[in-house]
Amino acid sequence: MKKLSLLVLFLLILSLLGSSVTLSQVLPTLPRSETLIVDALHGRLANPKDFNFWKPGVSVGNGTQQMLLDGLWYLDPQTGKTIYALAESDPVYSKDFTKMTVKLRKGIFWSDGKPFTADDVVFTVEYLKKHQGMNYSAQFAKWVSKVYKTDDYTVVFELTESAPFFHYIFTSIVYSTCYIMPKHIFEKVEDPLKFEFNPPVSLGAYVLKNYDPAGYWWLFERRADWKRTSVGQLYGMPRPKYVLFIYYGPDEKKVMAQTKHELDLIFDLTPEAWEVLRKSNPYSRVWYKDFPWAWMDDVRARVMAFNLEKFPYNIKDVRWALTLATDIVDVVTSGFDGIARTNPLFMAATASLMKEFYLPLEGWLKNFALEDGYMPWDSTVPYRIADYAKKKGYKVRGEPREIFGIGWWKYDPTQAEKLLTKNGFKKDARGKWLLPDGKPWRITITAPAGFEIHATRLAFAVADQWRKFGIDVNVETVEAGPFWSKWHLGDFEVGSYWSVPATDFYSFIQQYHSRFYKPTGEVASAGNQIRLKNKKLDELLDKLVALQPEDPKAKDLVVEIIKLFVEEKPLPIFIINLKFNAQDHYYWTKFPNADDPYQAPVWWWGQFKFILPHIRTTGRK
């Protein structure tokens, strides 16, 4: 009798736990067909209730910037086009670039019914400038002498000195920007560092409906007045009524969730996790429907960064020798199974930037020669990667040059040997390279441990190449905290980092001006962690900073800088970052992808808000 009672009790507990009392797995109270579920970039947040984006410690990639915040301009890296959000047109500068005028979009309202006007923009700048330590405070303090409105929809910025790039502070070029604050809320806040902006008033097409105090999810609901937002005015109604940002945990959990159709969009998976997902959920895809699947238009590229102050990496010939001792096809096929686009130039090889910079430079690359007349360019690389893929049984749809890049540097150990020998390097009896002083040449490559898996893979693949060439190479994998400390302090000789610009070239490149140089051992807070010092680069940067980023003359200077990076080879650049940002087409479809590349598939960027009106429900309940 006792045993029977225990059994009944056990069955009762199990059935209750599995029953409809606790309902379905993720969304017990929401219609799944009206809800888009998105992977939360930052994982679990320890302060999930803080929506004051303008504070330095608040993360916005878990939905806040995509759903609630809005900025003046957004630059889409996929198409290279500008999205005019809160600004209705380009900024207008005075001739000497000391004054910028912006016309704002009319008919935009905050979610609490207050109109968005020039007062909000003026307030944002003045308020952030006044409160040190807040995001953008340093920039506004440096550049803005006065900001005022001339009418409710026109703002004038008077600048402390000529700043033709000033509008970039308000442009989401990569990931985020300076979003506009609601004056009517913040004007009552005395200490913004203590203010959590909760509940947040939204300028986006959604409002915050609920969130997990433990920091795993945030739920947003479409505003009834979505027409009174930039998204509504530009592209119409965002389709999902609800958008849930949720962190499921490690990759295997995300794969399980998408297989069960409980996670529509994933930030990034390892290739192995994608392989499992691809085979278990026929509705999942990434950018390409078939091989190589991954999205390869991200705005950074993988490099082997040399600390240019450390011997022998301060010698140009050594840097070139290590480049020519690397068989990129072998790196891409053995390290990435052929899923990679080569990125030889100091500009991310995105689809739009390849058209804008790579193709026009192709002639120059073919004729480019080292000091001894050797021509290192190899345009056969994409075809050899495609051949590898075909041999593996994959179908390569499309032009290999568009998928795998237009080429890379030749694999030529003989030429590499020549360059090293010229600089006093020798080989011992076992074929191992010795430094000019006769000591064995040992390289330590610093790589991330447990994050940015592709950087780690690249480190091991390149180490194999250099070992084959006769160098003793060790890969040191380091956790995020010390990894970044080493990077900024210059505590590395070769590091597997991702440090190549894309649409943000103009701002990114400024860090390499020698006036920001810090010797190894000091924190390179302004950038230039590789400790590059180059007079010609300084001259080009001085000219560039005097031009508007969109000026055709600026583009010419950018091309000159790219060429200089080829000649000097401060850091060999290997492949563009790739992402397996999987999309599930079970409940929702028409996400951007290679078949319809209307926008970059960046669910974690502020730009994501403009994707939502394009997607469609499949009708499944």
Binding site: L17, T22, L30, D50, A141, K142, Y175, H488, A526
Partner: protein, 334 residues
């Protein structure tokens, strides 16, 4: 009075010395490891390209953050400031999630960890010790041998693997349990909410209990086996005292002493969380927060959590020391 002087007072002094040394080490250790919270913030800003930052503005921001974080001044000045704040129960602001107070982050996460780990520890301790005690005393019985084999198979399974097996089985193949969070989305406090809480905690707790039982079972069985062969047990059995009485009052009672100490230390240690559990089950708790603090060089958050942990373990050890005379008459009469 004599007891206070001879037994309680030395332990109290030892308790405070341990806490002082522990906290001092916690203060110094992060400052000598290659981590810089300001670099961490700057890196977050630049790695995502989150802001248009010209290099001069970045340099200025670095200085401002150092000022705001209280990282200017000598280590000694920071140390004095730290103790002053600690006496007020203030660990300062988190440097990663600046300026959220460390104490509010801990308050947000600790109840989840405490709830899960205390229940799991008590369950596995009780079940493991009872079964281990029985199996040790009746070691020749078939069921005891079977239980021992099961425990020996379970115990060496890495916790991560056990957790994954449970998730795959009960959240994926048979989707009974959820795979993320502490409770379902959109549920308001009610009967359903309580069930949702239990449902979300069930798998993480089950994994902890299964692996925990293995250890408690094996250690208790081994202790019991040793005590069973002691003269006083053999004598009691020879005298014809009922087996149940011998088992519970002679054998188990004596075997329990080291197990009680271990339990107290385990419960004292919950303040550092259970990172793997939280990571695999995506269950809220303090472990992930601690990991984030270590990775980002968030000195204040790190010190806050570890201080709780030191206090927890030291207090547990003190309590056990003070309570031991109640369990063990040999201590009482020493």
């Amino acid at each position: 009075m004599n007891l206070l002087k001879r037994y309680i007072l030395p332990r109290l002094i030892q308790y405070f010395i341990v806490i002082f040394i522990g906290i001092t080490i916690v203060f110094l250790a992060p400052r000598f490891i290659p981590l810089d919270p300001v670099i961490s913030v700057i890196n977050r800003i630049t790695a995502y390209g989150a802001q248009y930052m010209d290099p001069e503005a970045l340099e200025k921001l670095t200085e401002t953050l150092k000022e705001l974080y209280g990282l200017k001044g000598s280590i000694f000045e920071q140390y004095i400031k730290f103790w002053k704040r600690l006496f007020r129960g203030d660990f300062g602001p988190s440097l990663t999630i600046f300026p959220t107070p460390v104490i509010s982050i801990i308050k947000n996460s600790l109840p989840w960890t405490a709830g899960l780990l205390i229940i799991a520890a008590l369950l596995s301790w009780s079940i493991g010790n009872i079964l281990g005690g029985l199996a040790g005393y009746f070691s020749n019985k078939k069921w005891a041998k079977v239980l021992s084999v099961i425990a020996m198979v379970i115990y060496p399974i890495p916790y991560y693997i056990m957790a994954l097996i449970l998730i795959i089985l009960f959240a994926y193949v048979f989707p009974i349990f959820p795979i993320v969070g502490g409770y379902s989305i959109g549920i308001n406090p009610s009967f359903s909410f309580i069930f949702s809480l239990i449902k979300h905690a069930f798998l993480p707790a089950l994994a902890l209990v299964i692996v925990g039982i293995g250890w408690w079972f094996l250690s208790m069985r081994s202790l019991t086996s040793t005590i069973t062969s002691e003269d006083y047990v053999v004598y009691a059995e020879t005298m014809g005292i009922p087996k149940n009485k011998v088992l519970f009052q002679y054998v188990m009672k004596n075997s329990m002493l080291p197990q009680i100490t271990n339990l107290a230390l385990q419960i004292g240690g919950i303040f550092s969380g259970s990172l793997v559990t939280e990571y695999v089950f995506s269950y809220p708790g303090i472990g992930q927060v601690l990991y984030m603090a270590i990775n980002n060089g968030d000195f204040n958050l790190l010190m806050g959590i570890v201080t709780f942990s030191i206090l927890g373990i030291a207090t547990a050890a003190l309590l056990i020391d003070l309570l031991y005379p109640l369990f063990d008459p040999r201590v009482r009469y020493r």
